[in-house]
């Protein structure tokens, strides 16, 4: 469904993303992991149209969307959440979600109805009339998710949607994400919370310092020496192996 081909992004002298490629098949939940500063959000921004790539192509459902504006991509069915949540602060939860719903429903009544549905799905049903700025962190994350869902996307880009949540909140939201996929939405998620990645993702890509260094099923990727070194530093893989050998 989504094909990212050799995407690069240069900011002045800094090469933030270096020929990164990935493919997201329809109906899958794919993870994108990597240490901080690896370029994951930049990659997302290029896929969703907020940052123009220096090199490379993005294809969605076969069409080349590399140069398209963000709102056009949303109209095609690419939804995204932001790592730093961006609620419409002056509006209520319902009004926030309705903005997303209005993409597919022109009439107010329809949009509001759809917004209520989506809110209930993610667990915000009781907060519909609250001001968006009055929500907790967990609430705002759900709002981000709900807004993007309301646009009835085919592909959902989740940028660290679990960051800042405590373990029980994470536990509650994982089935919601799985439920979204089960309803036919393909998901590509940036995540740091490994528990969620292992739990949800069928396939994982690892980005470090702008380059894709590994891909595969979560268990295999997490055991990969390059990946361990990317997170823990040079020589870490060997050290860990030595420790394990020592324990065995």
């Amino acid at each position: 469904m989504l094909a990212v081909e050799s995407l690069s992004k240069r900011f002045g002298g800094l090469l933030a993303v270096n020929r990164a490629s990935l493919a997201v098949p329809q109906g899958a939940i794919i993870g994108l992991i990597g240490p901080n500063g690896a370029g994951k959000t930049t990659l997302f921004s290029m896929i969703s149209g907020f940052v123009p790539p220096t090199e490379g192509r993005v294809r969605f459902e076969g069409a080349d969307i590399t140069g398209e504006e963000p709102h056009k991509r949303a109209q095609r069915g690419i939804g995204r959440t932001f790592q730093i949540v961006q609620p419409f602060a002056g509006l209520t939860v319902c009004e926030n979600i309705a903005v997303g719903a209005y993409l597919r429903h022109a009439r107010r009544a329809d949009a509001i109805a759809r917004a209520r549905e989506v809110a209930a799905r993610v667990g915000l049903g009781g907060d519909l009339d609250k001001s968006a700025s009055g929500l907790t962190v967990a609430g705002r994350k759900r709002l981000e998710l709900a807004r993007a869902l309301a646009t009835e996307p085919k592909l959902l880009l989740l940028d660290e949607v679990l960051a800042g949540l405590n373990p029980s909140e994470i536990r509650d939201i994982i089935p919601v994400i799985r439920g979204i996929r089960d309803e036919g939405v393909t998901i590509l998620m940036i995540e740091h919370v490994m528990q969620a990645v292992m739990n949800l993702c069928e396939h994982v890509y690892v980005l470090a310092q702008g380059c894709m260094i590994a891909e595969g099923p979560p268990a295999k990727v997490c055991a990969d020496a390059h990946v361990i070194e990317a997170y823990l530093g040079h020589g870490a893989a060997a050290r860990l192996q030595a420790e394990e050998a020592g324990h065995a």
Partner: protein
């Protein structure tokens, strides 16, 4: 838009329509007509500034275009005043679209947008002051020919009702926008443009629609001004004074609300008249009051008068409002 909305606006307009029956003093009627014209232009500003969050400091550009359009069409081409009215709205909307396209396409927001609108208005003022067909520095006098076909009426009250009718129509329009997809998208762009784009909102198109609509309405106010006072020059039509009037009223009354601009225009000018009654000998005293009210409003009541009333009402009801039927917003 619910029946209740239409009813509340209709009742308000009906009550206001009774005012000329209580007095026929021409000074009072002049004041009322002027105030309504300001309210109308302010309603236009409010669509772009209040709902859209783009504060224009140069709405005179649209007011003046409307005024000059109708004056020139009548004086130089003998076009009927009512047709001139339509042309004024179209001309103003066109100018709005152009300014909007140039500014928004370049990504101008906030203070930069305010500055560029100020500059556009100033350019038009200089041009109007210099050009022959706008009458140059001498201005334009619309011929006094009191007949209804010419949008000139023997009885000033009739003009008052005409302007009031337009104000009422725009109130309905504003309410409709507020409950429409366009309105929701516009407000979303105001709150967070990137988030709105990610949700499929074509922010450029939405902003362009807003400024075009805003400009058309303000141009209508300009046309009505020219039609009532029958004289305009570059400083009246394109001067900063009118740009300031159109932004003061919504901010004082409650920016981003339906009734805010009207409430603000009423309050400001009522206050102005009151001030002049007590201290009229001092020139500029009413403007000093306006400026002070603006600063006080920003400091203590960013939601304007309607915001204050809302808070008082909520305190009276014993709880603070959590939802938003009419959400007031200070500029963001």
């Amino acid at each position: 838009m619910t029946a209740r909305d239409i009813l509340s606006i209709a009742v308000l307009i009906a009550l206001a329509a009774l005012v000329p029956l209580a007095t026929s003093a021409s000074t009072v009627l002049n004041f009322l007509v002027f105030m309504l014209i300001i309210a109308l232009g302010a309603q236009g500003w409010n669509i772009l500034g209040g709902f859209g969050g783009q504060f224009s400091f140069g709405h005179a550009a649209f007011f003046g275009t409307g005024a000059y359009a109708t004056a020139i069409l009548q004086l130089r081409y003998g076009i009927n005043a009512w047709v001139g009215l339509g042309a004024a709205v179209v001309a103003g909307a066109a100018v709005g679209w152009v300014i909007g396209f140039l500014s928004f396409r370049s990504g101008l927001r906030g203070s930069y947008f305010a500055l560029v609108t100020l500059a556009f208005a100033e350019v038009l003022r200089i041009l109007a002051n210099a050009a022959g067909f706008t009458g140059g520095a001498a201005g334009l006098l619309i011929k006094l020919d009191v007949r209804p076909e010419n949008l000139q009426f023997e009885n000033r009250a009739v003009f008052y009702w005409v302007v009031l009718g337009f104000v009422g129509a725009v109130l309905l329009l504003t309410r409709w926008i507020q409950r429409s997809r366009f309105g929701a998208q516009l407000v979303a762009v105001r709150e967070n443009e990137d988030a709105a784009k990610a949700l499929g909102v074509d922010s450029l198109r939405v902003k362009l629609r807003a400024i075009t609509l805003s400009a058309g309405i303000t141009a209508l106010a300009g046309c009505l001004y020219a039609q009532y006072f029958l004289y305009i020059d570059a400083n009246i039509a394109y001067g900063t004074w009118i740009s300031i009037e159109f932004l003061l009223a919504p901010i004082i009354g409650g920016v981003g609300t339906v009734f805010g601009p009207v409430a603000g225009a009423l309050t400001l000018h009522g206050l102005g008249e009151l001030t002049k009654a007590f201290a009229g000998r001092i020139p500029g005293i009413d403007l000093i009051v306006f400026g002070t009210v603006l600063v006080l409003a920003i400091a203590f009541a960013p939601g304007g008068i309607l915001g204050l009333l809302g808070r008082l009402r909520a305190k009276g009801a014993g709880l603070l409002p959590t939802g938003s039927k009419e959400v007031s917003h200070a500029g963001r």
